[in-house]
């Protein structure tokens, strides 16, 4: 059975079961038990059945699925520095990597330790065969000055976060399916991270705590001290303030 048919069958079955469950949940109450008890009992049974069915399905089905892009079982074991070294040697299939350019290479001071990098995507047709004989998909990798990888994927943008205080520099490298470098950035993206001062952060934290406590206090005190009076039947005009 094709996957689409499987999906349709599963959906129809699920909906029928849901409709039955809704009717069953809101059915008539057997004698002797409060309605709310019956509803909650049925709800819990339904939840347990749903959970067991779906867990069974997911255990059977759950397997990593690579999206339409290639899986990277054969990720290059070479570090980027080794890759760039290999570029220096004139192998028969290696071409000089085309330059990649970040849309923005200089950033204002990042106070929260994150940055979004983007660059032009490569048109494989424009690489004159550097993408490989089959002209396969391009994978990008963003590395920092210490050659640590911060992003690897097919999209020409990367979100990098959790950076500590200091200067950070990033390069982007493009690989073809054969893990050959086909392009890299000439100009690194540079960023200075300077987190907000802890003093300011803690001040605002405690202001927030005070406001929160005040709100809860108003609700609690108001509930205790402002009982609801009986409704007056005569129309009244608001008094002068």
């Amino acid at each position: 059975m094709s996957s689409d048919r499987q999906a349709t069958f599963a959906a129809v079955f699920t909906v029928k079961w849901l409709c039955y469950s809704v009717r069953w949940l809101s059915g008539t109450t057997p004698s002797g038990l409060p309605r709310i008890t019956i509803v909650w009992m049925r709800f819990l049974v339904l939840l347990a059945l749903s959970l067991s069915t779906l867990i069974s399905a997911s255990i059977f089905q759950a397997r990593p699925v690579s999206a339409q892009g290639p899986s990277a079982d054969n990720r290059s074991s070479e570090t980027p520095s080794q890759v760039s070294d290999s570029l220096d040697s004139d192998s028969q299939d290696a071409r000089k990597p085309a330059p990649l350019e970040f849309h923005k290479a200089r950033f204002n001071i990042a106070r929260e330790g994150y940055v979004s990098l983007s660059w032009d995507s490569l048109d494989t047709a424009g690489l004159d065969g550097a993408a490989g004989q089959d002209g396969g998909a391009i994978q990008y990798e963003v590395i920092d000055a210490a050659q640590r990888s911060h992003y690897r994927g097919a999209f020409p943008n990367a979100f990098i976060s959790g950076l500590s205080d200091g200067q950070h520099s990033f390069q982007v490298i493009a690989y073809n399916e054969a893990q050959q470098v086909v392009a890299r950035s000439n100009v690194p993206a540079e960023l200075t991270v300077e987190h907000w001062s802890l003093r300011r952060a803690l001040t605002l934290f405690f202001i927030g705590l005070a406001v929160f406590i005040a709100i809860i206090a108003v609700i609690v005190i108001g509930s205790w001290t402002s009982p609801i009076e009986t409704t007056s039947t005569a129309p009244q005009v608001a008094e002068k303030t």
């Binding site: 749903s50 997911s58 929260e112 994150y114 990367a158 605002l204 609801i228 608001a238």
Partner: protein
Amino acid sequence: MIILASGPVLTPTAGYWMLAFFSLLWVGLGIWWGRRAKSYDGFAVAGRNVGLALGTATAVATWITSNTVMLSPLFALQLGVWGALAYSTASFGLFAFAPMSGRIRKLMPNGFTAVEFIRRRYGILGTIPFLLISLFYALTWLISMAMAGGKLLNILSGIPYPIGMTVVVVVCVLYTLFGGMYAVIGTDFIQSLIILVGLIVVAVAILTQVSIGEVHQHLQAERPMLLAVLFPAALMALFNNMLFSFGEVFHSNVWWSRAFAMREGVGPKAYALGGLLWLPVPIVAGFLGLAAPALGIGISQPDTVGPLVAATLLGSTGALLVFVVIFCSLASSIDSLLAATSDLIVNDMVEPSVRKFSASVSDRDKRFWSSVAIIGLGLLAWGAALPNKNTLAEVLFFAGPMVGSCIWPIIGGLYFKRPSPIAAASSMVLGSCCGLVAYFAIGWFVASLIGAAVSGVTFGLLTILVPGKFDFADLSNPLSNHLPESDLNTTLNIEQ
């Protein structure tokens, strides 16, 4: 094994089938439940007889929005573990509203909207800023939900953004139109079951494939600040997010209309239970965001990493489940917004205007205006969301300081007689302005906090300096809501 997220994990065909299937289901249920809405009371507040199970389910379903699955991983990736916890503090809004909902139900047994409360409590002076803030928040939330719907369906299944967004909006408009609050709450019940079961399955499946120790190790090596206890921005964001949620829940007619719809005594329990059920959801979603780097999944757009990680790791069935969960979470919020905002428009804008020219307004007229409002809101949301400008979604964050400034007028007005219209109006205006200044000067993660703090100080000072003396009986008096023009002028003159 490194899994590269480079495209949709569900085929468009499967996506279209699921979309069609659930669309027909929700619209069908809307028509079926709509038969019970025989009066405007039935249409707007489900006959004021909703019980605990449905009340809890609607609270959970409405509060689980696309933002919950998109923004909590974003918070976690930006602000670390504190970020996920900060997002989960939004459940405190429901906890705090629980006792308030009981009081609202008792004080206004025939009420419909939050603006009606403000109008009765503070008059025109308090109503204008509050109505503006309410409409701004409701419309930006609605538009951001519509945009999120199109975006998520596109990312998960490749369905083109305009089609996915249009289907989501049209389906929600249709079943809200046919069934009113009965359809909204009824579908919320089913949607909450699907969402909660789906999230449990996703959480269990992820934990079987991802080692928490490995995630911790990876984060420590490559993104150390995400684990820092004293992460400055995260510390600032914690109470900011909580106060944003207080403002959202306290002021929004989405929650007030539910308080009016629930049977007396049910509201406090339903909201408390709803908050409890909602609390772990952003923590699970946030964990997905933090696990992505450890799994080697490249993060391009952090707001889509949660659904993408779940769908990529769980295979075809998991992808279907994520698709359905997201569709349900979107529908459950959009329908609530449509219903609540149309109530606000009919009850607080159209009806008072029509009453100046006509002595009575029939239920039939109100149903008609509600229908027009729902369709109009749907068209507005669709038109604004169609260009898919990200900046529109970011506008929702401007609402943070505005809704934060509404906290004090609401709770002060609900519990105490002294707060006056001047205190309410001034606190809303000053709080909003100062909060917006903080938004641009410092960042989004302090705007609501500053707005609420300034509003609170202003409200407190003016309540002491310019006290009022309100009679709570006016909240339930049917005549005081629709004063004849001569009395209305007298009231205004006295208040000024």
